[in-house]
């Protein structure tokens, strides 16, 4: 691969990750459209590169959340049984499903992400007494996190675990098929089914994404589907971009950026849909 392409791959991943970091979203959802639509990379190669960058961002940003006691590690391990099983299903299916289906599915996920970005997340924490017979109680998943605004620890309970596990299976499947972190499915699972505080939900979801992605990335690596020349600069660009986003870009007004991202996600959804239908747009690759 030419040095200029490596530099552009790095720059594009850096930009996507830095901007995504401001809104607390993973850059994974942008990597595959960028690689396929701008760089003309085969969608399977793009998925392989993207899944490595998803792992890199998850591992790179996990430490502060863990040190602040926002990550519920026990809950993450329980949910990872479902996400990795979903990823395993994805590994089996990706060789069977037609490329047009992958483009179409990606378009749907992009559109859902745009819609999710418009709707603000609401706190839906269950504060009542824990159900002694629930799975979450038996597995001792209820926990607490330090709330800086209140200056004390806030206890929370983990809600409907079976529903959460089902949604997480779907998230793992989509993650493996499309090379993304699947935040679009993890957020409803965490907020609606498990009813976690948003900070705990974000930290735990980010923590799990790496293991979920490793479930498919290990298989893709062994199968030779990961192009090192593309995956390397994309992973590095994403990690550095996420760090830069967290440190330097906090001053950008998040609301304007939100609208910008909704528009970009919408446009990418249309482009991916056209690719699914086998149509090319002038100016595309």
């Amino acid at each position: 691969m030419a040095s200029s392409s490596v530099a552009w791959l790095f720059a594009a991943s850096f930009g996507a990750s830095a901007l995504g970091g401001v809104l607390g979203m993973a850059s994974g959802i942008f990597i595959v459209p960028i690689l396929t639509l701008l760089f003309g990379v085969d969608i399977h190669v793009a998925i392989g590169a993207s899944i490595v960058s998803v792992i890199a961002c998850s591992c790179g940003s996990a430490a502060p959340f863990l040190k602040e006691r926002l990550t519920n590690v026990r809950l993450a391990v329980v949910l990872e049984t479902a996400t990795t099983l979903g990823a395993l299903t994805g590994v089996v299916l990706i060789g069977i499903v037609p490329t047009a289906f992958l483009y179409g599915l990606f378009a749907v996920i992009l559109a859902l992400s745009a819609q999710q970005m418009l709707a603000r997340r609401r706190e839906a924490v269950s504060a009542g007494a824990a159900d002694a017979r629930s799975w979450a109680t038996m597995l001792r998943l209820h926990s607490s996190f330090p709330d800086r605004a209140l200056g004390r620890d806030v206890r929370y309970q983990v809600g409907k675990l079976p529903l959460g596990l089902s949604l997480m299976y779907g998230a793992g499947l989509i993650s493996a098929l499309l090379g993304i972190g699947s935040g679009v499915l993890k957020i409803p699972a965490m907020d609606t089914a498990l009813r976690l505080p948003i900070k705990v939900s974000s930290a735990t979801s980010n923590f799990m994404i790496g293991v979920t992605a490793a479930g498919s990335a290990g298989a893709y690596l062994v199968r030779g589907d990961i192009d090192i020349g593309i995956a390397g600069p994309v992973a590095l660009g994403s990690v550095v971009g996420a760090l830069a986003g967290a440190h330097f870009l906090m001053r950008i007004p998040a609301d304007k950026l939100r609208i910008f991202f909704v528009v970009v996600l919408g446009l990418l959804a249309v482009q991916m849909l056209l690719s699914a239908l086998g149509l090319q747009i002038p100016g595309g690759h």
Binding site: V73, V77, H142, G232
Partner: protein
């Protein structure tokens, strides 16, 4: 949780250390590899392209192995704490990831 808070904090710090150090090592390997490949382009007489590729590949492999190492670390920590339900759950996660690799072979 029945475990004392400081044991949980210690566990989380160990896991955080693994993930942040691993990220640094993998990122550094990729950066060194890309730099070597770039040097090779400026001066083709230097035989660096292959080692550059090897460094980038090592970085990518470390990244993929890092979450798996994290689950293995939790497995060991749960085993030490005799928390057998979570020993089984983390072993299950490792087995599922392993199954994916075996299927791909």
């Amino acid at each position: 949780m029945n475990q004392p808070v400081n044991a949980v904090e210690r566990r989380d710090r160990i896991v955080a250390g693994l993930l942040s150090h691993g990220t640094w090592i993998a990122s550094a390997a990729i950066a060194i590899g890309l730099a070597l490949q770039l040097l090779h382009r400026f001066d083709a007489s230097i035989a660096l392209a292959d080692s550059g590729y090897d460094f980038v590949k090592a970085g990518v492999v470390i990244f993929i192995g890092l979450p798996i190492a994290r689950v293995a670390l939790l497995f060991a920590i749960f085993l030490r704490a005799r928390d057998y339900t979570f020993v089984a759950l983390s072993a299950l996660v490792l087995a599922i990831i392993g199954a994916g690799v075996v299927i791909a072979l």
